[in-house]
């Protein structure tokens, strides 16, 4: 960086002196930049040549050829098919990436919802509730996430019952079963004409949206309110069910049933996944709750009082007056928490959930080496995800700024 003396002044002073090459601002600017670029380039070259030499001397294999060789191990949680001995390491990468994204996505959804809920509870006028919310936030914010993850992992098992005493979350329908082996879900099997039901649902949705829009326009124009909630719900329920019955109920369920040792059928979710999901959700909910609280407190008190004075109910004040105004202050820290959620999901390696770090940087690295390639690919994956999320944040920030003007 150079002295930021206004350009014109230097120019005016210069003609009297001889041209001082080393004190000319532009020359120096170019010199510093060249120096930086040169040092950086040299450093990179130095590191690469060292690495190449070291790999060579130690007889360590390099290259991405391993991606197409088959991986001999199985993965206990997978969103796409993988057959041990057939699926390649490339597929393992994909599997790990999908698992990371899946658990992060769910954790983001849950933690955002929970975070808003707790953030609002923190400001509750019920003393006990606000203190419990405070304790929740402080406990989970001030202990390391890694300890929490390991703890939940053990905790979930100690608390859940054994297979014989499975809890049925669907209240007798046996479609969601929870025990210490994980969560079992019934999987829908769609029949031939089931798509018609989905179409009907879509159509109902469109109609409802149009209806509500018209109602709002009417209210804005005349002040007259139309109740849309009941008709909307009725439409959304009745139309698809009618189509469903008319097409002959083309849907069956693959139910989890106890066979021998285990439940067969349906979809099962391993406990490591549940533990990771719970711990990530709670940890980040505590962080988001703080952002929400700060955001709500940043809204001028007058807004609340004004809303009270025109007779809005407390619930509506929160949802229609305070929270919308708090959003610009809440969203940026919230999105950065989303980013942290994705990054923190890498701690899955401590409890063996098959995320990208655990599958790729641990199991694969242990089997075939190739440290440089594996680390590089994993880091590139995270970079891609994080940059996408921060792109999202930038778009939001731009929009908010425009609105403010």
């Amino acid at each position: 960086m150079t002295d930021a003396v206004p350009q014109t002044e230097t120019n005016r002073a210069r003609p009297k002196e001889s041209f001082d090459f080393f004190h000319d601002e532009r020359v120096r600017s170019v010199f510093y930049q060249l120096l930086t670029a040169g040092t950086f380039g040299w450093l990179i070259w130095y590191l690469i040549s060292n690495t190449a030499h070291n790999l060579d001397v130690r007889g360590m294999k390099t290259g991405f050829g391993f991606l197409s060789t088959s991986a001999g191990f199985d993965v206990d949680f997978k969103l796409i098919n993988h057959t041990p001995g057939v699926g390649t390491y490339g597929r393992i990468f994909l599997l790990g990436a999908l698992n990371t994204l899946f658990v992060s996505f769910l954790a983001i959804l849950i933690s955002t919802g929970l975070g808003f809920f707790i953030g609002v509870l923190r400001l509750s006028n019920n003393w006990l509730v606000s203190k419990v919310a405070l304790a929740f936030v402080e406990i989970f914010r001030n202990t390391p996430l890694l300890i929490q993850i390991v703890f939940w992992y053990i905790g979930v098992f100690s608390l859940l019952p054994a297979v014989k005493k499975t809890i049925d979350l669907s209240l007798g329908a046996e479609m969601m079963l929870l025990n210490n082996r994980g969560l079992y879900l019934a999987t829908p099997i769609m029949g031939g004409l089931f798509w018609l039901t989905l179409v009907a649902l879509g159509a109902a949705l469109v109609v409802v949206v149009m209806l509500r829009r018209r109602a709002r326009k009417l209210q804005e124009r005349t002040g007259q309110q139309i109740k849309t909630l009941v008709p909307s719900l009725a439409l959304m329920f009745l139309l698809p069910s009618a189509v469903f019955v008319l097409t002959g109920m083309p849907l069956s369920w693959d139910m989890p049933t106890l066979q021998g040792f285990n439940f067969a059928g349906g979809t099962s979710v391993p406990p490591a996944f549940l533990a990771l999901l719970v711990s990530l959700s709670i940890y980040h909910a505590a962080q988001i709750a703080e952002a929400v609280r700060a955001g709500i407190l940043s809204v001028n008190k007058g807004q609340h009082e004004a809303a009270l004075s025109i007779g809005l109910k407390p619930g509506r004040i929160m949802s229609m007056v305070v929270i919308p105004q708090a959003m610009p202050a809440v969203v940026p820290p919230m999105i950065s928490q989303w980013m942290n959620t994705v990054k923190n999901s890498s701690l899955a390696v401590a409890i063996g959930y098959a995320d990208i770090v655990s599958l790729f940087m641990q199991t694969t690295l242990n089997q075939i080496g190739h440290a440089v390639e594996l680390v590089g690919m994993t880091m590139a994956f995270y970079m891609f995800i994080s940059l996408s999320i921060s792109g999202l944040l930038n778009i939001y920030n731009k929009r908010v700024q425009l609105v403010e003007r």
């Binding site: 294999k61 001999g72 098992f157 021998g260 040792f261 490591a272 641990q362 199991t363 089997q367």
Partner: protein, 346 residues
Amino acid sequence: MQRRTRIVTFAAMGAVAIMGATVASAQSTLDIVKERGHLRCQVGPPSAGYYNLDSDGNWYGLDVSVCQAVAAAIFGDITKMEIQSVSSQARFTALANGESDMLSRTATHTLTRDTQLGIDFLSPNFYDGQGFTVRRDSGITSALELKGAKVCVTTGTTTELNLTDFSRTNELGISNVTFEDYNVRDDTYLNGGCDAVTGDKSSMAGNIASFPVPAEHMILPETLSKEPLASAVRHGDNQWADIVRWSIFALINAEELGITQANVEEMRGSSKDPNVLRMLGAEGNLNEGLGLKKDWAYNIIKSVGNYGEIYEAYMGHGELGIGIDRAGSLNALWTNGGLMYSPPMR
């Protein structure tokens, strides 16, 4: 002008500093170790039987004793050794990079590892095999009855691969429940989270001993895999490999010849057996090929005992042992039908 010169000088100094760090490493590992004054021996995160920390912060275990044996062979002093505990991701690179001089940990010798990682495996100091632990009341008596069972397994090891192979071969449809930590694996099993645990039989024996009611559990007879747990050294320094290899052989040979920590002094003085005298350095010059002192093997036995003594202390029924019977296992001496066999020391 002055400023520019200063910058150039700094840049030059930086370059020289970094280049200067390029120490030529044509030195042999033995020389490096001697010059440093202690051996750097790599083990893993604590694992019952092999390498453990006690509450005073000291290491103990079978593999730790092997480290001590090598230190004794070189320095005649087991304290001239530094244990480095390295996680499983970094274990092979840490050795290949020279952070540690040798690896003495539960690493299974496989072809891929031997050829692709820049390291060489030596002779095994423990033969393990993978097995299953089940609850006695489950009525299972053979691993082949585990059809459709959930099996808890630690991740990232050959154990997981073997389980998958076993399940495929016998069409059992076993589902793996993977764990990073074997304590959590065992807890899950104890809480009924899986029907069986699989792991190296040695460590499972120890783990069962720590269960609330050990008698409720048993290890199935089948052995799924060969797990020769061997020490390893960096690829390319044969003299060093010889030193580590023969330090381990010395432990086994001593047991075969009946030399113990208690009688080694006496044996060196009064034994009639030329094998004993040669090994303990009272006769001949076996040490020369290794580049060690004459009493290298004597020092090993004097400071850590023979293989049998070490086994009894940490793997067998000693106070800190995990309680695996040695008789009839692969780890018995070859004279007792096991695989522990040292080439002749002559």
